[in-house]
């Protein structure tokens, strides 16, 4: 009796162990079925990094699978009116995710995506900095470098 109980327990342990490792590929789709995707929200910020209220439309988000063949490695989506994006179903792998909006510094993040995983990756895009220089004053009359000021070189070339 006791030996039989022990056997059953042993089988259960084994089953649990199997479920924990290889078994997840069978169990998970049934239990929590969801495709592997990356999604998130893109926020815009000014030159100093302070977030601004305007929500970005049509930020391009590229998902580059660094572990796949080159020709099928890049998938792109655009954000919606609220700045949200969601990738299509992706094969698992190491992804470089890039958010790109003209006039803003391109942001990239590395994401390790496992099977059926749903990753949230938010981005903040900073406006590219421009300087605001000052108006420059005109020259004083004799303050212009002129090749004629320089001693003329000797004849010949």
């Amino acid at each position: 009796m006791s030996s039989k109980r022990q056997q059953t327990l042993g089988v259960l342990v084994l089953a649990a162990a199997a479920a924990g490792s290889t078994g997840c590929s069978v169990l998970r789709p049934i239990l929590f079925w969801q495709p592997a995707t990356i999604r998130g929200k893109v926020t815009l910020a000014d030159e100093k990094g302070t977030p601004v209220a305007t929500s970005p439309e049509a930020v391009t988000v590229n998902f580059i699978n660094t572990t796949a063949k080159i020709e099928e490695s890049v998938v792109s989506v655009n954000t919606d009116a609220l700045g949200k994006y969601q990738s299509p179903k992706l094969t698992p792998g190491l992804y470089k995710v890039e958010a790109f909006l003209p006039g803003h510094v391109i942001e990239t993040q590395n994401v390790k995506l496992r099977s059926h995983e749903k990753k949230g990756t938010p981005f903040t895009l900073k406006k590219i900095r421009e300087t605001r220089s000052k108006t420059l004053r005109e020259s004083d009359d004799d303050n212009i470098p002129n090749p004629g000021d320089v001693q003329i070189a000797p004849p010949g070339l």
Binding site: I128, R129, E130, T135, D140, D141, P147, A153, P155, G156
Partner: protein, 848 residues
């Protein structure tokens, strides 16, 4: 017998009759032929014949007048008209015309109008499709959106226009592998529209140039290969667009009749890369020389003035007797100088590359005629397009022997001119070059030649690196052989240049001259005096009148000292020791200057020298002087002008005294420093057009609006006011070159990117006139805002052309990073931001 006499009488009578009754000339009847199409449009070039006799062709208005001398009324005339030339054919027409009765006193009866209506049966326009000089076959052609056909093997497509002769059409051409092309073109019978396609992804550029006297010239029609693949032929600008290689590629350039081996270069990987390849012609160049009218160095010397035309004529005759020199037409020279506002001084000091004269002349010859103790002195300078003295000499002699002096001077130019050629064959120790003695080039056996490697230098400049020198072993007309050291690594296509013997001679001594002028006791140091040694130009004196001249010791050397405004001076010397110091006193014509100012008591500075306070009287050389009158106290503006003194006495007192004005610049500056921005604005705004500081005040005002008031609109208005003055817009007044940068920046801030680009481009092209103390900063800002404006314009337009331009402009921006700006915080910020912008453009070019 009787018969004979009768015959004679008859002949006499007949002759008499002829003499007495010659009828008046018959009136001319004019056949007025008009050829037109059914819609009334005139047809030119129609061949008209009358009764089988060709009478000419109709003109642009479709008309041809055929005069008929006294035709018999009632005569039938057959008028035929036809037009047939390649691509255009009309149905021939024929019309019968009867000559009506006419009366010479009624002009209207003398006109015989003939209207011919002709219909085109053939009007073929060709569309020629090509890319980089090669025809493109199989290109699809659309006219106004409708597909009409494809180009044939020769890249041609024929469009039948008849019965119309021409039409406007939107021509669209597309073919795999090339960028699409559209153009609004006029297709006309017998004419050809050439469509040049760019290879898709062809965003790298190979430029082919040749060098002459330190300047590039584009080489067209040169065949370019990239990694062995034909990439095309260069266009008129010497460029051909090629597909950017993924890794560094080998470029080879060939052109029939040019250097025997291809010129080679590497094209770097990546889009928008560019390479410039130097190709050498297979014959030595000739030189287009503009001879400037000689000037006299002594103002008002009638004897010299009278000699000027003869000097010009003789020099021109002698110079252009040698076929290596081609004359630039004097009228074309004057026209080009006028168009580009070139003065002689400007040309001699800084050259004329990039002006209207640039493409016309390789060198100018300027002559100053002077005299020294009765002798006539010619000093001649040949200056290259880059403003470099390539030959300078002086020749003296009796004033009665102008012809001889000019002949000798010409010989010296030929001796001193650095004639150029190229290496045709290169073996260790021995080179064959294209530089021979043809055309009277002064190349002689035993002389020297320098060998240079020619490469693109900074900016658009030419970099010449001396590879070595050699001795001329043999000279033919178009070839020479030179011996070089075994270590000299010359290659085919390298440049060779004749080294004038004077330059090559050993100068083992050194003499320092101090040149002064004036009457003894009151003499003053003279700068800008040109010095010639044995007739060859050696340089000019410094402002302290000093010049060091290398000389051969132990032999007699002649020196000539020349300066505009005073007679020349000749000195014969024998230098025994290694070094020597000598003083030279030049006679000079003096002006008595009387000067007063309102208010008086102001300091007077002439050519940088303190002369005292007004009112004053002093002696001064005749000629041009910079006169500055500075008030000692108060907010007065200094008077500062270049004046010319030509008479024995110049009186600037009484009515002519110098009236000083209040210094608005200083006053506005003081207010601004106190934080009174509006006060500064009101002072500057009050400055009217007739005020000497008008431009400066409004330039400053614009800056205040932009920086202090953040009002780009007002700033633009004021900058434009400054540039509305022609002298500022045309950059005669160069100090306002920087205004184009400021205006461009204002337009940028206002999002007027097109205008910003236009003004910033002017600023960039004239950056040499930026103020010295912030020259680098101004250049940086110009390139920065140019690239930024271009970038923002690309956001708005998304056109391929703007993308390419933007890439090039960012590249220009990154290329400019002088030492002086490396620690500048703002520049650092600008550059780090710019890298992100450039990254965007690179992505777009990468074919996103």
């Amino acid at each position: 017998m009787k018969k004979a006499s009768l015959g004679i009488v008859g002949i006499v009578l007949l002759l008499a009759g002829l003499v007495a009754c010659t009828p008046p000339p018959p009136p001319t009847v004019t056949l007025e032929v008009t050829a037109s199409q059914p819609d009334g449009a005139p047809i030119s070039g129609v061949a008209v014949s009358v009764n089988g006799e060709a009478k000419g062709e109709t003109k642009d208005d479709g008309k041809l007048n055929v005069p008929l001398a006294g035709p018999e009324p009632g005569t039938d005339l057959t008028v035929k008209a036809s037009l047939e030339r390649p691509g255009v054919k009309f149905t021939p027409v024929e019309q019968q015309v009867v000559v009506r009765r006419y009366d010479a006193t009624k002009p209207e009866t003398l006109r015989l109008p003939v209207a011919l209506t002709m219909t085109a049966v053939e009007a073929v326009s060709e569309i020629a499709v090509e890319s980089a000089g090669m025809p493109v076959a199989g290109a699809e052609i659309k006219l106004d959106g409708k597909k009409v056909g494809v180009s044939d093997a020769a890249g041609l497509y024929k469009v039948q226009l008849a019965p119309a002769l021409s039409r406007q059409a939107k021509v669209a051409v597309s073919v795999k592998g090339y960028e699409d092309y559209t153009e609004d073109a006029t297709l006309a019978g017998g004419s050809r529209v050439t469509v040049s396609l760019a290879k898709r992804g062809a965003n790298a550029v190979v430029r082919v140039v040749q060098e002459k006297l330190g300047r590039w010239a584009a080489v067209d029609g040169a065949e370019v290969t990239v990694d062995g693949q034909r990439a095309g032929k260069t266009d008129a600008s010497g460029a051909v667009k090629v597909v950017a290689p993924s890794k560094d590629a080998k470029v080879e350039v060939r052109k029939a009749g040019w250097q025997p081996e291809p010129a080679k270069a590497r094209l770097a990987a990546g889009s928008a890369s560019e390479v410039t390849v130097v190709l050498s012609p297979s014959s030595a160049p000739t030189y287009r020389i503009a001879v400037l009218p000689p000037t006299s160095s002594i103002i008002g010397d009638k004897e010299l003035d009278d000699l000027l035309p003869e000097v010009e004529e003789r020099l021109t005759d002698f110079l252009f007797a040698h076929s290596v020199f081609e004359r630039v037409d004097p009228e074309a020279l004057q026209k080009a100088m006028k168009a580009s506002k070139l003065t002689t001084k400007k040309m001699l000091d800084s050259g004329w590359d990039g002006t209207a004269l640039g493409p016309v002349a390789d060198a100018v010859v300027a002559t100053i005629v002077s005299k020294s103790e009765g002798d006539l002195v010619l000093s001649i300078r040949a200056v290259s397009v880059k403003g470099k003295t390539i030959a300078g000499l002086a020749e003296a002699g009796k004033a009665t022997k102008v012809r001889l002096i000019c002949e000798q001077a010409t010989d010296k130019i030929l001796e001193a001119f650095p004639f150029e050629g190229h290496v045709l064959e290169a073996q260790p120790g021995r080179l064959v070059t294209t530089l021979g003695k043809a055309g009277d080039r002064g190349v002689k056996r035993g002389g020297s030649m320098a060998v240079y490697r020619v490469a693109p230098g900074k900016g658009k400049g030419v970099s010449l690196t001396e590879v070595g020198q050699g001795k001329v072993k043999g000279v033919e007309d178009t070839r020479s052989e030179i011996e070089v050291a075994q270590t000299v690594k010359a290659q085919v296509g390298d440049k060779v240049s004749w080294v004038p013997p004077q330059t090559a001679a050993t100068m083992d001594g050194l003499v320092t001259f101090t040149v002064k002028a004036g009457k003894e006791g009151t003499e003053r140091a003279m700068g800008d005096v040109t010095v010639y040694r044995n007739g060859v130009w050696v340089g000019s004196t410094s402002p302290t009148g000093e010049i060091k001249v290398p000389v051969p010791t132990g032999q007699k050397v002649s020196f000539i000292f020349v300066r505009g405004g005073i007679p020349a001076h000749v000195e014969q010397l024998k230098i025994e020791r290694g070094t020597d110091r000598l003083s030279v006193l030049m006679p000079a014509a003096m002006t008595r200057l009387k000067l007063d100012s309102e208010p008086s008591g102001a300091k007077v500075v002439v050519d940088g020298e303190d002369m005292g306070v007004t009112p004053l009287e002093t002696d001064i050389f005749m000629g041009f002087h910079r006169v500055r009158v500075e008030p000692v106290a108060g907010d007065w503006r200094a008077f500062d002008k270049v004046l010319e003194f030509v008479s024995l006495e110049e009186n600037l007192t009484g009515d002519k005294k110098i009236v000083l004005t209040k210094d608005v610049m200083k006053e506005s500056e003081i207010r601004l420093a106190r934080g009174d921005v509006d006060g500064a604005i009101s002072i500057l705004e009050a400055v009217q057009k007739d005020h000497p500081d008008f431009s400066q005040a409004h330039h400053r005002l614009a800056g205040i609006y932009l920086d202090e008031k953040k009002d780009a609109d007002r700033a633009i208005q004021e900058f434009e006011t400054v540039l509305s003055l022609p002298e500022n817009r045309e950059l005669v007044n160069k100090r306002f070159a920087v205004t184009f940068l400021n205006l461009g920046r204002a337009y940028y801030l206002q999002k007027g990117y097109d205008k910003a680009i236009a003004d910033l481009t002017i600023a960039r092209d004239n950056k040499r006139f930026f103020p010295r103390e912030n020259h680098d900063r101004a250049t940086h800002d110009t390139l920065y805002y140019l690239a930024l404006s271009s970038h923002k314009l690309y956001y708005a337009q998304r056109s391929e052309r703007v993308l390419q331009e933007t890439a090039a402009r960012w590249k220009d921006y990154f290329d400019f990073f002088p030492e002086s700006l490396k620690e500048d915080e703002e520049v650092k910020t600008a550059r780090s931001g710019s890298e992100h912008f450039y990254e965007e453009i690179k992505r777009k070019l990468g074919g996103e």
